[in-house]
Symmetry: C2
Subunit: 185 residues, 2 copies
């Protein structure tokens, strides 16, 4: 499974692509940070980021897109641009016929470090470890985008519809298997 992870942002938008043939053999394919100038107007900024998202999907042909879930309560100053970019990611994925799954920041931290309250350095450290890199990817937006993609791979790409996912039949079977396993424990 190839996953495009997106850390949404209007000034900097992290785009990380990994291959995950099996959950424990993750490979870095590409990572970049799309940017837009704070001097440009909102439509041009959003268009620049939307074009970069489309280009990443076209170039890497992922099987799924994972994006950080944005909450209206936090960072009022920047939340609007971040939320708008997450909306563009969702539409771009859907128009490319891809499932798109949202993960909260604490879900991402928990998936890659084991703790939902891990700091940025810890997340970047584990991203490097899990992808077999010599050092943490920089800048933080790049590491975060890869962490989101890794989260999707480690969770098997399966989520319930209530979490904002759109499960394929295979994902749905995985979700059901996971639930069955939980019931047995």
């Amino acid at each position: 499974m190839r996953v495009l992870g997106v850390d949404p942002g209007l000034t900097r938008c992290g785009l990380g692509v990994i291959d995950a043939p099996a959950a424990r053999t993750l490979t870095l394919i590409d990572v970049s940070v799309a940017t837009s100038s704070a001097d440009a107007d909102a439509p041009d900024r959003l268009l620049a980021i939307a074009d970069a998202i489309d280009a990443a999907i076209l170039k890497h042909r992922p099987d799924a897109v994972a994006v950080e879930r944005v909450f209206a309560q936090h960072n009022v100053r920047t939340v609007m641009g971040t939320g708008q970019v997450s909306g563009l990611v969702m539409v771009a994925a859907r128009r490319a016929g891809l499932p798109v799954v949202l993960y909260t920041p604490s879900e991402v931290k928990a998936a890659v470090t084991g703790s939902g309250r891990a700091d940025k350095a810890q997340v970047a450290y584990m991203v490097a470890k899990l992808l077999g890199l010599d050092e943490p990817p920089k800048p933080a937006d790049a590491a975060d985008a890869l962490a989101i993609a890794i989260t999707h791979a480690l969770k098997g790409g399966g989520r319930t519809a209530a979490s904002g996912a759109s499960a394929t039949p295979a994902q749905q079977r995985w979700v059901e298997a996971e639930r069955a396993a939980r019931r047995r424990n």
Copy 2:
């Protein structure tokens, strides 16, 4: 000048199209409300609204798109979806090569009623008056979308870049003429 006005929303998105050959001869061309089900997941809801926006642009070929500016401070519960839809509008307009201008709710109220604190009924009443309709358009989202389009027409379609506009040369000349007139007064 043909204007598409958009009252952004995830559950209901108003789309109003008017012709404004001159500021005092406004004509209703079309008005509709795109909807998405609260039961669907976020990507599918955003896609449905994005498709409706694209369809309106393709069908009516406006010269400009006007959209209500969304503020992060208000209506936390629904602001994220509303902001995301406004982002989709901006990108759709830009991809169609159209200028897109943002107006605050109080700018719209002031433009169509003369008061920035007018209520919804007053706005709907004036929309009907200005378009020569027998009664106010319904639902409220339809009236609001037309009010936004009318605002753009009454303001001559010209705005400064700092307001989120992207002026065409003609709009720029209008802005300059307007500024010169203000200096003379």
